[in-house]
Symmetry: C2
Subunit: 410 residues, 2 copies
Amino acid sequence: MNFGTEEYKERIRKTKESMAKKGIEVLLITDPANINYLSGYDAWSFYVHQMLVVIDDEDQPFWIGRNQDANGARMTTWLFHENIFPYPDEYVQSTTLHPMKYVAEILKQIGQDKRTIGVEMENYYFTARCYEALKCGLPNATISDGSLLVNWLRLIKSDVEIEMIKRAAKISEIAMTKALEMVDVGVRECDVAAEIFRSQIRGTNEFGGDYPAIVPLLPSGERSATPHLTWTDDPYESGDIVTIELAGCYKRYHSPLARTISLGKPADKIQILSDVVVEGLNACLEMIKPGIASEEIESTFKQTISKFGLTKDSRLGYSMGLNYPPDWGEHTVSIRSGDKTILKPNMTFHLIPGIWLDDYGFEASESIRITENGCETFASLPRQLFVKEQFLPLINSNDFPSDIGEIEEV
Amino acid sequence: MNFGTEEYKERIRKTKESMAKKGIEVLLITDPANINYLSGYDAWSFYVHQMLVVIDDEDQPFWIGRNQDANGARMTTWLFHENIFPYPDEYVQSTTLHPMKYVAEILKQIGQDKRTIGVEMENYYFTARCYEALKCGLPNATISDGSLLVNWLRLIKSDVEIEMIKRAAKISEIAMTKALEMVDVGVRECDVAAEIFRSQIRGTNEFGGDYPAIVPLLPSGERSATPHLTWTDDPYESGDIVTIELAGCYKRYHSPLARTISLGKPADKIQILSDVVVEGLNACLEMIKPGIASEEIESTFKQTISKFGLTKDSRLGYSMGLNYPPDWGEHTVSIRSGDKTILKPNMTFHLIPGIWLDDYGFEASESIRITENGCETFASLPRQLFVKEQFLPLINSNDFPSDIGEIEEV
């Protein structure tokens, strides 16, 4: 476990407090990050149904999952072993049985089937069928929407969580530096991706890395006109723009980071786009502080780039931290017009002002922490369009770091 | 795109045929593997809602997704650009708007809102809220269960798909060999995981690797008593049992592989467990052929290991191939009692007879293709408990391959 039992108990207390406000007596948690947050449970078992059950008048939650994963629950959580309920394997990906029927049976057995039961309606791991099977199995319960209840509790990080994100950021710097070193004419995209992965998982000599919730995204050339393509096994060509988005991850805590590199002198329009986006990002980092609303950040960005005739339709960023695939975002705060969330110290965001045009794009991002008086970036790497004009020999890519230049201070 | 347009059209034809049998007129596909199978679309954009719409009397499907991903859809699919419908960014992870409302509007506009509309009820990317929002937005439609409709079409692979899995298998051999070389007393688990990732993504000089749908799973010591733990940054200790499950992946096609290694001479009970499981696996590989039922494989395995007093409660394997996180299994055939699927040539399975006891486990698996007369394994690596008795110097791990021994033939 990454935190002491007292920390988990405090999180459970806050969860129950929020449940009470929403009139939820029993909360069924299927988001792997929320399960981890409240119990410590950590395994790649979320591809089968599993959940944590928080009951208003029980000290400990219950874990319900596949039989072969129960040992993992015993090893990685603070729960008493009698609170771990394994379900038989015939429920796994069956066309006739559904784990939520098993869950309904358990809830009956422990006398919780006539209560107001909250479910995470919008989580990847609570499918439409989960909902139907649960309603069918619990005819006397009132099913209620408990979406994002725990996610909102995760918004402000403890100091220990901040330390974990700082470690993740260290890994993100190493991985991004490696990527910027390696991307070059004639190098295969997959070979760069491989070194990014290796850096992400090795971490440092002091601490190892965990798998990020999203794989490295590094579309090149025309593919940079869209942010979520991965890589090919084609070699980079002279003139390519490559956008790179990745995260370091430490014990499921993320610090995402995006940069862009041009192989060869970029066209003026690309250099201008880059300069404007970076100016917009810097303007945001200058103005962010506790007490302002999330949407004000976006407004600052939009104003800055509009001076150059640019617009951005997509959100500027989002709250991030602890997570599992397929997303490192927390699905609570989005930095965009209409989001009135007031910033507070130790909230953590990924600000990613990417702009994608018809045949190229530019991204430069920062993961930030709201401090007492402003904000600070987790990683330290220059914010700029990196340009590689003299192509390096393919074998020796160790000469590049000087190209990265000095670290800008926020 | 990995296949020619004609191949995609043929898949659409089969999809419509299956829709007709089930009385589905419009199929909303949210499973990223099914979207890829029918359109070629490939991006890490499934963390926001997206779908492919197959309509019984339209030649081409429609893609509906986030605006910034639309360029990716234009680049990676065979669809006409007018069949690509981007939704505005304010629908992304919003607490007030839902992309399925947008989808409902599109369906109204194209006159499809009063039809029988199939949805994938049990897919990770079709949440309970998706279902509710869709029902709410389409009051005149009949919503019907289209779960696994496309998955079942994926069961028998084309020869080109088999070639892709063979490439994935080549990568799985390289990654597993690297892992078996590296696992050693004093080596950090994360450093082994890092080299596995690197091998998976680099692939070979001829072709690069893609990200597998599941990260390497390599629990050690007592943690080997459960299969889905990942890694720590602790070093391995003498006496550790390490189970390693990983896959090679080529253009989203997987070939999973599991092996187990003991650091030091294993206790007799572990050696016996390993020998029995391998004997059971070999017995299965001997008997598998077209025409038998899936459940007969498991029955052979159970009979073989029962001679030694062993039982296995979890399924023996499952259909696999094309997929995205969080699972490389196809969620159709499970090799277990009750599964009556008759085996046919070019079905592909992962047979993973892992057994997990209270404080240790053993896994040895094979990915297989059903041939005309029997079956063949995709990878070639000895099936045995690997034992490292003489610990190697930490820096030079290149001397190990001779320990891996000769390749067994099936």
